[in-house]
């Protein structure tokens, strides 16, 4: 093995190792599921607050408990079949999957704390969730080298900031639903379509 050929081999190995490290994200459907369940929860909340639905404020906690439970059950059901998929076995996908699950557990814990203690408005969930989603989205952008995810992360943080000026308005619920659908659902849809194109 001569020195130039060794240098070529090392470059070749580095390129392959880098492409193996990134791969492609396979979690778009989870984004879609959570966008749908949270939007349903927000629409039910809006309907209750505007008296279109005969629900007392404390009954909304049960609605949200059911909505979050549905999201987790759907996630675990999808996860139980994902193990066999080659893309899911990649280190990058296992890492980001663990990160998003951890983020979800953290947010569920914050919601439960707010709901059970009553020390602060549950409307605070939106800026907290948006800030956490922004952080996790940046991490995903770095791991998968997807530039447009940085734009989504910044959008999440703008939503987090803006939320504090809208918290006491009824329209804030619709604003939250729109943000979730656009940022969470839109990201999920783009990732699912990209995955379908790859595997077609």
């Amino acid at each position: 093995m001569t020195k130039p050929s060794l240098a070529d081999d090392v470059d070749y190995l580095r390129e392959l190792a880098e492409s193996g490290a990134t791969g492609a994200p396979s979690g778009g459907k989870y984004f879609l599921v959570w966008a749908v369940v949270v939007t349903v929860g927000l629409i039910l909340t809006y309907a209750a607050v505007t008296k279109s639905l005969p629900l007392a404020p404390d009954q909304l906690n049960y609605v949200w408990a059911a909505v979050l439970a549905a999201g987790w059950v759907a996630s675990f059901l999808m996860g139980s079949t994902d193990g066999a998929r080659p893309e899911s076995a990649r280190f990058a996908n296992r890492l980001t999957s663990a990160m998003w699950i951890a983020a979800g557990i953290g947010l569920t814990a914050v919601w439960a704390g707010l709901a059970l203690s009553g020390v602060a408005s549950q409307a605070l969930m939106m800026p907290i969730a948006a800030a956490v989603s922004g952080v996790a989205t940046v991490a995903s952008a770095i791991i998968f080298r997807i530039r447009w995810l940085y734009v989504i992360a910044v959008a999440w943080w703008i939503v987090a900031f803006t939320s504090f000026f809208l918290l006491d308005r009824i329209e804030f619920i619709l604003f939250s639903a729109a943000a979730i659908l656009l940022l969470q659902g839109g990201t999920g849809l783009a990732l699912v379509l990209a995955e379908r194109r790859r595997t077609a």
């Binding site: 081999d9 392959l16 193996g20 791969g23 076995a89 990649r90 280190f91």
Partner: protein, 99 residues
């Protein structure tokens, strides 16, 4: 660190294509056959042959599954494969240090 010993180079990994497979899997852990084929720019038959040699050495294992009705093969790096790849890189490093 001991001196470079060309006899210590792992013949199974030493081929460019097999080394490429090991490099790719060293960071991916697992990859489907199509991704590997595209990343290494190999034909299906060529990749199959190299994967079979690595599998015989216990460096990778393959898993067959279905995506809908499409059969899929996943190639997974084993612990023995990771150790062999690391040892191979150590040998390369010694070669470089020898000048």
């Amino acid at each position: 660190m001991s001196a470079f010993d060309h006899n210590a180079l792992d013949d199974v990994i030493h081929g460019r294509a097999r080394l490429g497979i090991m490099a790719y899997l060293s960071t991916a852990d697992a990859a489907d056959f199509v991704s590997l084929r595209d990343a290494l720019a190999l034909s299906d038959g060529n990749l199959s042959t190299h994967v079979a040699k690595l599998e015989d050495a216990g460096y990778v294992r393959t898993k067959k599954s279905f995506a809908g009705k499409k059969p899929q093969t996943t190639v997974v790096l084993t612990e023995a494969g990771r150790r062999a790849y690391t040892a191979y890189l150590d040998q390369l490093k010694r070669l470089l240090q020898r000048g």
